[in-house]
């Protein structure tokens, strides 16, 4: 209950600042910041002066709004002063050469970096107008809102049913067994796995093929009904057919969720995403509409990368 109250308070406070301070946003972005949608509860934060990122870092009705994010692993800085918004119901693809900070940024969004010894995150990451590093933000609750799918399919060594039921169970989402069965069935159907596994829900999740395992992981993630799904190279361990299925699935899931996907495949980024962000050595070089990035990149580094000149 008190989260609802605090949310509205913060929104009221946010709305004031969001409208006034936009000195650079209009200059950088070719698309002017649109008027707030009626349902919008989170607002884009003001864009700081002098940022080097090219393209529109802001978006209409952002779910995440990140400003001046720095991430350090011990002495090494993995992300340098990153500013970006993540919109609702759209897919943001993050591309760039290995070690450029894409995965690190992804893991900031649900605070998975907390689990890494020596990792330090600075800056503001607002989810719906609340800083996720706020003291009153519970990390367990955050991760229930921001689900994650990993590079290597990692189903629990339990049955298929238990894999999907685990999230609802620990969060107490299902009142009784029938409701839990419903959640499991719905999640598996939405992940496009139901027809393949409906007769063997009690078999171990690890007995499935790689592509099925990854869809099981997606089903497991959407079973807790998150707002965002983070995907860290979800297809890198899969063959082209399984990859195509996952990409179709991402396209369907976009109807309900915000999706951030890290990928090394530029074709995949072009196919599944609406916005693309290009990272290079910890810097966010360019952000923009996917079509625009791939047809008309403005930064030299972006152009070199997507034309295959390096990376």
């Amino acid at each position: 209950m008190d989260t609802v109250i605090s949310k509205t308070d913060a929104n009221a406070a946010m709305q004031g600042t969001a409208m006034n301070d936009h000195p650079r946003a209009a200059a950088v972005s070719p698309v002017p910041v649109a008027a707030p949608a009626p349902v919008a509860s989170g607002k884009s934060l003001p864009v700081p002066e002098g940022i080097k990122t090219i393209g529109a870092i802001t978006t209409d009705d952002p779910l995440f709004s990140c400003r001046n994010v720095n991430v350090f692993y011990g002495e090494k800085q993995a992300i340098k002063g990153l500013n970006i918004d993540v919109g609702r119901k759209q897919v943001l693809a993050m591309i760039g050469p290995s070690g450029c900070g894409k995965s690190t940024f992804l893991r900031c969004l649900n605070r998975m970096n907390d689990t890494i010894v020596g990792a330090r995150v600075e800056g503001q990451i607002m989810l719906d107008g609340h800083d996720i590093h706020e003291r009153r933000q519970d990390v367990v609750q955050l991760r229930a809102r921001v689900g994650m799918v990993f590079q290597k399919p990692n189903p629990f060594p339990k049955s298929i049913y238990e894999n999907v039921a685990y999230g609802p169970r620990i969060h107490g989402l299902a009142g009784d067994r029938a409701e839990l069965d419903d959640i499991v069935g719905t999640s598996l159907r939405r992940a496009g796995l139901w027809d393949e596994v409906k007769d063997r829900l009690n078999q171990p999740g690890t007995s499935l093929s790689g592509g099925q395992q990854q869809r099981l992981c997606i089903a497991r993630t959407i079973a807790v009904n998150p707002e965002v799904i983070l995907m860290d190279e979800p297809c890198s361990a899969l063959d082209p057919i399984a990859t195509a299925r996952i990409e179709d699935l991402i396209d369907e899931l976009r109807q309900s969720y915000a999706i951030c996907i890290v990928t090394h495949s530029m074709q995949q980024a072009a196919r599944v995403s609406q916005r693309t962000a290009y990272f290079h050595l910890g810097d966010l070089i360019e952000v923009g509409e996917t079509d625009r990035i791939f047809t008309n990149p403005r930064a030299k580094l972006t152009e070199d990368y997507i034309t295959g000149r390096f990376g």
């Binding site: 998975m112 010894v117 367990v140 060594p157 807790v224």
Partner: protein, 438 residues
């Protein structure tokens, strides 16, 4: 490529390269064969030692499972046992059962006369025979006045002769049985009233100064009680410590120091733990000496490092992707550990615990320090009763002069080895059966 210019240094034609490879090949294969030979030799040496050890112990100890028994017809004479005729239990306990055994032997050999000869005759039966009769009568007082044929323990000197340890053609002065007794034994063997039978007293008796009466039940129970205490304490403490250190503790100088010290503790000589137990548990806390409770506490100190190290290794072997999956679902740290990490690490932890227990079972030095080395006849009934343990019993018996204790020492070692084998086999089975693949 090299047609236009002189090839660079180190660049050779294909034929020369092949020739060089071929020359090196034979040397490589020789090195490999040599290494294999060393490996096989090492394994053979190890196997030879084990065969020698087991062979010696089994050849010396196998005979302990059979023991010489005398078949005697016992008349429970009412006048001897219960002159007052009241059948009071107290009277029945204190009655002279030795007299029954002697009377039976005299009846069996009416020809033996004279004090000296009779004493030689009586020496054939063990002093345990009268105890056996007493237990029978106390259990069933209606025996008084009746007759019964019973197999009773023969003396260990007779037993050694029956087992061929004592040479009957050695000079009479060097034998503990004189010629007269040899003749009696031969008569008994001839009519089947002296024979080797299954040695139940070895498993039902506690320690004794008489070899034929000495059994391992006391030591076995002492070891069991001690190990139960050890397991009940060291497994939960060890697993909790390992889980905390591996999953929750921050990585800093403090945890490094703790880690180094745990590894150090695993290498501390066990006698030191015994001294510590003596100083802390007995001297400071005033716990009873020779008690399995104190033994268990000391062995807990001894096995904790083993269990912690094994449990940490098991936790480390759980892939981080499982933790990430659970944390990514919004499971809390403790849910991640309890629901996913611990079940996967449990087989490894149990294996570590069993190996730690096996080490504790074979440990004798620390038990010497806390008084579990005492001569204790009674079988312990609880953790506060004085007791001894199997390895300590081996140590005690190996020190005794009677020839019959040699086979008992080896027999106790066999029992100890069987338990160790069972425990280690369980560890292997657990590891193979429950180890999950991912």
């Amino acid at each position: 490529m090299n047609s236009t210019s002189e090839p660079a240094r180190g660049v050779r034609g294909a034929a020369e390269t092949q020739a060089r490879v071929a020359r090196g090949l034979r040397r490589r294969y020789r090195a490999e064969a040599r290494f294999r030979a060393y490996g096989i030799l090492a394994v053979l040496a190890g196997v030879a030692f084990v065969v020698f050890l087991f062979g010696t112990i089994f050849s010396q100890g196998a005979s302990v499972f059979r023991q010489s028994y005398l078949k005697l017809e016992i008349r429970y004479d009412a006048n001897t046992l219960d002159p007052s005729g009241t059948r009071r239990p107290d009277d029945l306990v204190t009655a002279d059962y030795q007299a029954l055994v002697r009377a039976s032997l005299r009846e069996r050999f009416p020809g033996v006369e004279g004090r000296a000869s009779l004493r030689k005759l009586y020496a054939l039966a063990s002093s345990a025979a009268s105890v056996e009769l007493q237990q029978r009568v106390v259990a069933d007082p209606s025996l008084v006045g009746r007759k019964e044929t019973v197999w009773l323990l023969a003396d260990d000197v007779v037993d050694m002769l029956m087992k061929g340890v004592t040479q009957r053609d050695s000079p009479e002065a060097e034998r503990r049985l004189n010629d007269e007794q040899l003749a009696l034994v031969d008569q008994l063997v001839a009519d089947g009233t002296l024979a080797l039978r299954f040695n139940r007293s070895f498993f039902s008796n506690g320690d004794s100064r008489d070899p034929e009466q000495a059994g391992i039940r006391g030591a076995l129970f002492g070891s069991f009680l001690t190990l139960m205490i050890t397991l009940a304490l060291s497994f939960p403490i060890g697993v909790a410590a390992a889980v905390y250190l591996e999953e929750f503790a921050p990585r800093n100088r403090m945890t490094d120091v703790i880690e180094v010290n745990i590894n150090n503790l695993a290498a501390v000589p066990s006698i030191v733990f015994g001294l510590l137990g003596l100083a802390v548990f007995i001297a400071f806390f005033g716990m009873p000496r020779s008690a399995p409770l104190v033994g268990g506490l000391v062995l807990t100190l001894l096995t904790l490092p083993t269990i912690i190290i094994a449990s940490r290794a098991a936790l480390k072997a759980v892939p981080p992707s499982i933790r990430e999956a659970a944390l990514g679902m919004g499971a809390s740290k403790i849910q991640t550990v309890a629901h996913h990490v611990l079940p996967l690490a449990m087989p490894g932890m149990l294996t570590g615990a069993i190996i730690g227990m096996a080490r504790a079972l074979g440990e004798s030095a620390p038990l010497l320090m806390i008084g579990m080395v005492a001569f204790i006849v009674d079988v312990p009934k609880g953790v506060f009763d004085p007791a001894t343990a199997l390895p300590v019993q081996v140590f005690l018996w190996s020190d005794l002069p009677e020839r019959a204790f040699v086979e008992r020492t080896s027999g106790a070692i066999i029992v100890l080895l069987i338990f160790l084998l069972i425990m280690n086999a369980t560890a292997v089975v657990l590891r193979n059966r429950f180890e999950k693949r991912w």
